[in-house]
């Protein structure tokens, strides 16, 4: 939410870090209440699912790192 308020919420990939952009989370936050048809809804759900997968991958990677370090010490 903090990001939504400052990032600019523009649907484009900007070349500069100083121009407005969008994040997946703010996209959902902004459009979900306005999504009226099923296609729009399921597209937003897909964005949510993508976020979930990213979280899963990052966490799995972190687990793997911890496991590897633990194995080296043992």
């Amino acid at each position: 939410m903090a990001v939504t308020m400052v990032i600019g919420n523009r649907h484009e990939i900007a070349a500069s870090l100083f121009s407005p952009g969008y994040t997946m989370a703010s996209l959902i936050a902004n459009e979900f209440t306005e999504a009226t048809n099923d296609l729009h809804l399921s597209a937003l759900m897909a964005v949510g699912a993508t976020l979930l997968v990213i979280t899963l991958v990052v966490n799995a990677f972190a687990r793997w790192l911890v496991w590897r370090v633990g194995r080296e010490q043992a």
Partner: protein
């Protein structure tokens, strides 16, 4: 027979420490290095000090801004009266404050027992495959963007009933709270000495009684702290409430209907184009921050009173 009566040992000369050849060589080799080490040491210590300062700087800046912008709007009226329509000065967030209390209360009622129970399970059976899986999934859920939790709750509790509800918001917040409480509980229970557990078992306690009345009891202050930190964290969440509790400009006390919440109200007011609403948003943010600070202070106090000085 010229033997001396007593052997007189000459007073010991203070030994002059002359470095041996090897030591000189070592000193020669490391003279430059020593200076370098000192410099590196100072630079690094300086950097950590700077980092520590920078870590607290955001909070100080936020606090300063909030007090500057919000303090004038906060009055008794702010806590007791309802939001005024656009264009009218004054008004308060009584409904949002009460709504936040209700939603956070409901979320805690759902999330805390599950979280503590799961944490107890993780600590009691650490080696099992299920425990490893639960731990991993808890970490994933803990890092999940709150907006995803929001759409999950929407799909689960709003869409089927075709009605935004405070209950759905509470479920979303509970889902955010559970993994945190689970992990905190597990860590706290791990700190309980094994000897205590063994003593209870030796006295004839069954395993479940040991877990519940000895282990959990001992870890309680830590668990309470974890729970309070979790509550402080969810109290400020906006994203999970956007499509669930939805917010409400009027009094709303029914959990099955849309309900106002402090973070939602702040968000709505902050992105609005009206100056009066911006002032209200600043004031709301100040109140929210103070509430969270109070909860955090209580959490510290709980840890301190039982374990002596807080271990930090």
């Amino acid at each position: 027979m010229n033997q001396p009566i007593a052997t007189v040992t000459p007073p010991r000369q203070p030994r002059i420490d002359r470095p041996s050849g090897r030591q000189t060589a070592f000193a020669e080799r490391t003279r430059g290095t020593l200076l370098r080490r000192r410099v590196v040491n100072y630079v690094m210590v300086g950097l950590t000090y700077t980092a520590a300062l920078l870590a607290t700087l955001p909070l100080l800046l936020i606090l300063w801004h909030l007090v500057k912008q919000g303090a004038t709007t906060v009055s008794m009226d702010f806590f007791t009266s309802m939001p005024k329509p656009v264009g009218e000065e004054g008004g308060g967030m009584a409904n949002a404050i009460v709504g936040s209390l209700i939603i956070v209360g409901l979320a805690s009622a759902m999330g805390l027992p599950i979280g503590v129970g799961a944490g107890l399970y993780l600590a009691e059976s650490k080696g099992t495959r299920l425990a490893t899986l639960v731990r991993f999934l808890s970490d994933v859920l803990n890092g999940l963007p709150s907006i995803v939790v929001g759409i999950f709750a929407w799909q689960l509790l709003v869409r089927p009933f075709r009605q935004f509800s405070a209950l759905a918001g509470a479920v979303a917040l509970a889902a955010m709270m559970i993994p945190f409480v689970t992990r905190a509980t597990e860590e706290m229970i791990r700190l309980v000495p094994v000897s205590l557990r063994e003593a209870a078992l030796a006295l004839g306690y069954t395993r479940w009684r040991t877990s519940l009345t000895i282990v959990l009891r001992t870890a309680l202050p830590g668990i309470v702290t974890g729970a309070l930190v979790a509550i402080a964290r969810i109290a400020g969440e906006t994203a999970p409430l956007l499509f669930t509790a939805f917010g409400n400009q009027f009094w709303s006390l029914k959990p099955t209907e849309p309900m106002a919440a402090l973070p939602l109200q702040i968000f709505t007011y902050a992105i609005s184009p009206y100056d009066e609403w911006h002032a209200q948003a600043w004031a709301g943010a100040l109140v929210l921050l103070i509430l969270v600070l109070i909860i955090s202070l209580i959490a510290r106090f709980v840890t301190r009173s039982r374990f002596g000085p807080a271990a930090d």
